[in-house]
Symmetry: C3
Subunit: 262 residues, 3 copies
């Protein structure tokens, strides 16, 4: 699927938070996609329609931006383009939780990507969420399935082991590296990578495409760590962009650790 | 001119898009200029007047920001400071095209910097614009000249070969490296570099100053690639900042590939 | 104190300018703190209360953002959390000076971090401020003390030699490297580092904690330069993030150059 993605060079409309715009764009460029950022309500409908997928990331939320996200999301829905929601910090403040609920009620979200704490907050589960780096002791597979069935979407729950499910078809992925948590925007960029894979895949293959996106991303992180070792988090963060671009489909498939759950 | 720039350390008022602010600022600092970002209508007039040049980049546009850009642009006009417009994504949505037209009608723009698709959109020429990385099959020299004469400005059309013209004096530049297209903000930073050269040059030398800015920038990219080779796009993007700072005027002149057209 | 900081992993609520968000977040992550950015008036009160410290940086100011900063600041005040103000570009435009005065009159600011020009502007002293990289010929210790006594806060005045004072207890720090001035956001990140140390320290130790934060930061810059040498400003800026993470408390104490003034 990676070769196909690089060939198609899909346009990904990113409405993401102001902390991670550059890193997201550079990661998508390295991957072989074509990122575009657009936020104004006057143009997001046009841009979402022209794009292959739409990423909604609420990391630095506002009411105005939420309204624009809903316009973009509905436009993507009409055009049959996948919509990826990254509920950054859901549960950390009531404002963020409410924004997610509003988007989920007004837009047909295709994929939700978040950590256990954020996904718990979406379905009202209890979890301790600290800032945007939440954690939860609940059963991650159960949370992911609850999100998937509650919102008729694919849930991509990321953590040490990642869970990808649409409620019936479920995969776990155990690629990745813990240093990803020390570079800002790596989780947000994963939302973009998932969007790029979704823009490339057939709808019937979306769950598997998400699992492959997550695995691909994790292998790139492993390679980045292997090359940069303990030089530091700055060097690792840059090597990760390098390896998002350098990784071949063949190597990604060879190193992937995807398990299908029954 | 580079030595003069480093000596003068001109203040460049950047009203640029939220994806590229950091990269633009770091590139200008490396070059020897002094970047300042200011967006609020309450202060942009003061800042534009204090600066040596003003950069207007519409990459993440809004109506509010457009109003502030016009205030800043008119203030720069009154103070006799050059105004550089980067019409990012013009043609990709009607909103962006209209914003450019509004700025061009209310501000005396000194230099327009964009790719062939964006410049085509400004003059109503037909071109296929995909997101912000547009392309056009039209004759690039003709498009650049049409922009220059339509808006009484200098057009800097960048691509594999860059065209710089005020409608009569025309240069082409063939420095640069294709990896620049894989790092977000390199085109936007070029707008800033052009602004810094314009802040340093005499008005009578602006066309030549633009050609030198574009060439200087391309040589820095070549040097960055020569040093970082195929390590990856992240490493290249950082090496480019390094080499914007390391490149001497002597080496820039030695490696420049500028051709004067009749 | 560094070991304690890494152990506590304090949440730092950053309301900072749009040029430096990524760099600030990565620096804080490397240091061992947990950054969160939140700007909307609907949530900043909640976030500031949950955080260990609040950073207010006016580098890209607006009236709307100022209102949100005051809400956040007052919430932090009520919760007894330290508030750090970084008056970026105070004196460069009247708008920035007025915003600082408004924040200082409505919020109980714990620490003010700026250069000599910015701090002079806060107390009406005369200085030549050029953009956001101000300078002043006044006596830096006198300026810092005037800020500290005028606003009942700790002043952290940074420059070649840094001055930290609450008006009676005064330290100077002579760590650091001049290349810090060639990487955007290093000063702004220092505001974040000071916030993280303040979130960790006892209130009675805040002056000393600020001096240690400034010294720690300077040692990391020295180490970054020693490793990256003259490779360029891009490489240095990344190595600085590396060394913010690599520096141990032991080495920081060994290399610190803090002088207590009477």
């Amino acid at each position: 699927m990676l070769n196909q993605l690089k060939q198609q060079n899909p346009l990904i409309h990113c409405m993401t938070n102001m902390v991670v715009t550059t890193y997201t764009a550079n990661g998508l460029l390295a991957l072989g996609a074509s990122p575009v950022m657009a936020y104004a309500k006057e143009e997001v409908g046009d841009m979402a329609q022209a794009a292959g997928a739409l990423l909604l990331n609420i990391g630095t939320p506002s009411n105005e931006l939420t309204d624009a996200m809903i316009i973009a999301g509905q436009s993507a829905n009409q055009a049959g383009k996948p919509v990826i929601l990254d509920p950054v910090g859901a549960g950390a403040t009531p404002f963020r939780t409410e924004i997610c609920q509003k988007i989920l009620s007004e837009v047909d979200v295709t994929i939700v990507r978040g950590n256990a704490g954020e996904l718990s907050a979406l379905v009202g589960a209890q979890g301790v969420v600290k800032g945007v780096d939440g954690s939860s002791d609940g059963d991650k597979e159960a949370i992911a399935k609850q999100v998937a069935t509650s919102f008729s979407c694919i849930a991509v729950l990321t953590g040490e082991v990642d869970v990808i499910t649409d409620g019936s078809e479920t995969y776990t992925v155990s690629n990745g590296h813990e240093w990803l948590t020390k570079v800002v925007g790596t989780g947000c960029l994963l939302g973009g990578v998932v969007a790029a894979f979704a823009a490339t895949a057939d709808k019937t293959d979306f769950v598997k495409a998400c699992a492959q996106a997550v695995s691909y991303y994790g292998v790139a992180a492993e390679n980045a760590y292997n090359v940069s070792q303990e030089q530091g988090y700055g060097t690792f963060g840059q090597a990760f962009i390098d390896h998002l671009g350098l990784l071949s489909e063949e190597e990604a498939l060879r190193l992937q650790r995807i398990e299908m759950k029954k």
